[in-house]
């Protein structure tokens, strides 16, 4: 037997041996593996994708960078031509002025209460309604679902005036106004303007901003859950609602977090409903603090438009700051939510 072809067996210790094979040199192997058209194509495609993603990420992130940068600039930086992204004399005056003069924390508290309850209500109600549409066949369910889509299609400015009127003197089926005419009560309805009730009521009935989308998302998600799961629960004697609360809800936590994130942050920055339901005299909300603070008024009117733009942007930054924190914690749920749901058409 030729010793060159046979593997060399070396005894290293009592329980260990080493086998040496004749192998092609490493360099040649690597060359054969990587220096071909297939790999080249793959690498190019990979680089192209990476470049594209980085480019689009830049488009998304750059406004935030520039806003953050400009929020630290002092007013002299805006006059200076050489200053572009990095402030020469960084200052916190803008932040201080907005927080103190525009009563940031008060607005924050009000908006937080409003958005939190709206978000929770919308998440839960859309979950509920979506489940009803996904798993139960009943007469008119298709028409009803079309109506859900319909509520999403109606531009909200269509309903602006009538929403305002509705919640100005809120009553159901004209009961209050009837009582008013009879003389039992003095007002034709509940005055709900400048309170959080209009938005809470809308949230509790699945009619608030883009709730049609949430119902759709939840419905698609539940359609992906196999029916056998519930059937086995029914067989074990669990009722429909018990099954929903003990089995379905825990399964859909990721999707619910996604919907909650959407609902909360869309309510947080919503201007339409807050303009309709809250007047100037009403509680201060975050959407109302976008204005030049009193203490910066002189400076901003004296210097360029850039400065007032920067002040506006800083207001925006302060407003979305809590959302950024929320997003950092919640973004993995958004991604997970889609990975598990497998929404189908």
């Amino acid at each position: 037997m030729n010793s060159a072809e046979a593997p060399k067996i070396k005894r290293e210790s009592k329980n260990k041996i080493r086998v040496d094979f004749e192998r092609t040199p490493l360099l040649q192997r690597l060359r054969a593996k990587f220096l071909n058209l297939y790999t080249l194509k793959k690498v190019l495609w990979y680089l192209f994708r990476l470049l594209l993603l980085i480019g689009v990420s830049y488009i998304i992130l750059f406004p935030f960078f520039s806003k953050i940068a400009s929020s630290f600039m002092s007013e002299s930086d805006f006059v200076d031509v050489t200053v572009r992204l990095i402030p020469k004399s960084p200052t916190l005056t803008t932040y201080k002025a907005i927080i103190v003069d525009n009563q940031y924390f008060k607005a924050f508290g009000n908006t937080f209460l409003l958005s939190l309850i709206c978000g929770l209500l919308q998440t839960f109600i859309c979950c509920f309604v979506g489940y009803g549409f996904a798993k139960f066949k009943f007469k008119g369910s298709n028409i009803l679902f079309l109506i859900v889509i319909f509520t999403m299609v109606v531009p909200h400015s269509t309903l602006r005036l009538s929403m305002f009127m509705k919640f100005k003197d809120f009553d159901i089926l004209g009961i209050m106004s009837l009582l008013n005419k009879v003389g039992a009560i003095s007002k034709p309805g509940f005055q709900l303007l400048n309170t959080n009730w209009p938005l809470w009521i809308l949230s509790a009935t699945g009619l608030a901003y883009k709730n049609g989308l949430f119902i759709f998302l939840m419905r698609q998600f539940y359609k992906g859950i196999p029916d056998e799961l519930e059937e086995s629960a029914y067989l074990d004697g669990s009722g429909v609602f018990k099954t929903f609360f003990t089995i379905i809800i825990p399964l859909s936590v990721t999707m619910m977090v996604t919907v909650f994130l959407f609902a909360f942050s869309w309510q947080w920055t919503d201007t339409f409903y807050t303009n309709v339901f809250y007047t100037q005299t009403g509680p201060l909300l975050l959407t109302k603090i976008v204005k030049t603070p009193a203490s910066l008024m002189e400076m901003s009117s004296a210097s360029s438009t850039l400065y007032s733009a920067a002040i506006k942007n800083t207001c925006g930054l302060l407003i979305i700051f809590p959302l950024i924190i929320l997003y950092l914690f919640g973004q993995k749920f958004i991604v997970q939510g889609i990975e598990r749901s497998g929404i189908t058409g």
């Binding site: 993603l53 520039s66 509920f128 009803g132 309903l159 009935t205 698609q220 976008v290 925006g316 189908t344």
Partner: protein, 323 residues
């Protein structure tokens, strides 16, 4: 005797025979969607009805609260169409914008979703970044960004003359010219050229509005069974072929959903030109009923367009047969 028998009968069969499972399920279905039904009947329908009523009336707000209506027929609609100069203009330009936006948004979000679905370095981070606009660039922030001197200044590096807007406009045109040159040498039709130029100019806007669509596409892509791709690979199909023969048909229902969603989103977003115009009309004296009339006409147009888009796309939608 009879009575006794009855009692006996009653105890034997217990309560009246329970409804069939199907009926029971239908009933629980109604209970699940009940919150929405209540809201729709008690709040939404009256509001819709009021809105239609207002659009046919002249409204006077009374000082003691409440209002008075004077029926004027189609006067508001006529005013909106023929007297008001801005409305039809806004409508036409809004529609033009829509024609540009919808294909761009749908295609872009599909493309990005496909890329984000593949294995790539830092995929989680990229996904997180791409969903930022959904959460953060909506409503108020969108409005602040809509005319933001700061962003234009930093993006374009205009000279500090106090006319940043003008400078940035020229800059944009310059960029477009470069692109135009590129395309003209490629000898592609004029229409496509203008389309691409417009789309590139509004890339920031498009990226910002892609979030939800991307989400829907991604989940659609996730639901395609890997077994199909595996068998494609074994049969020797290239990535390109796999895309056209497998991925695209499988996500085509998502394309329909997203196109409709994009139309809805584009029409009802507050950055929409027509919506802006209607809002300004609303704030004019006596403009509130006029704006109601305008938005109802607008709504009818939206419905028509959605029906057209949905009808057109559903011709190409492929539904996988299950089981």
């Amino acid at each position: 005797m009879n009575k006794v028998l009855n009692v006996f009968k009653g105890s034997a069969s217990g309560k009246p025979r329970s409804a069939s499972l199907e009926k029971k399920k239908a009933r629980s279905g109604w209970i699940f969607v009940l919150p929405f039904i209540i809201g729709f009947i008690l709040i939404y329908l009256p509001v819709i009805f009021d809105s239609i009523r207002f659009s046919f009336n002249e409204i006077r707000i009374l000082t003691g609260g409440g209002y008075e209506l004077d029926f004027v027929g189609f006067q508001n609609y006529r005013d909106a169409l023929f007297v008001d100069t801005g409305f039809t203009q806004a409508l036409v330009s809004g529609l033009k914008q829509l024609v540009i936006d919808i294909p761009a948004i749908v295609l872009f979000s599909l493309f990005i979703a496909i890329i984000l679905n593949q294995k790539i370095f830092g995929r989680a981070a990229f996904r997180a970044i791409f969903f930022i606009p959904v959460i953060l660039t909506t409503g108020l922030i969108g409005q602040i960004d809509a005319n933001n001197a700061m962003l234009e200044y930093m993006n374009n590096g205009a000279i500090d003359t106090g006319v940043e807007a003008e400078a940035s406009a020229t800059n944009q045109i310059l960029n477009a010219m470069d692109l135009k040159g590129l395309f003209e040498t490629m000898a592609i039709g004029q229409g496509l050229l203008e389309y691409v130029v417009q789309a590139v100019n509004s890339i920031f806007d498009i990226v910002n509005r892609c979030g939800v669509q991307m989400l829907i596409f991604l989940s659609g892509l996730q639901s395609i069974s890997p077994a199909i791709y595996e068998s494609c690979q074994i049969d020797g199909a290239s990535g390109w072929e796999t895309f056209w023969k497998v991925t695209l048909p499988m996500v085509s229902p998502m394309i329909l959903v997203n196109a409709v969603y994009t139309v809805i989103d584009a029409f009802t977003s507050s950055s929409n030109k027509v919506m802006n115009y209607i809002d300004t009309v609303y704030n004019q004296p006596n403009g509130n009923v006029l704006s109601s009339a305008m938005s109802w006409m607008y709504f009818l147009l939206v419905i028509l367009i959605i029906a057209a888009v949905a009808g057109l796309l559903s011709l190409f939608v492929f539904y996988q047969r299950r089981d």
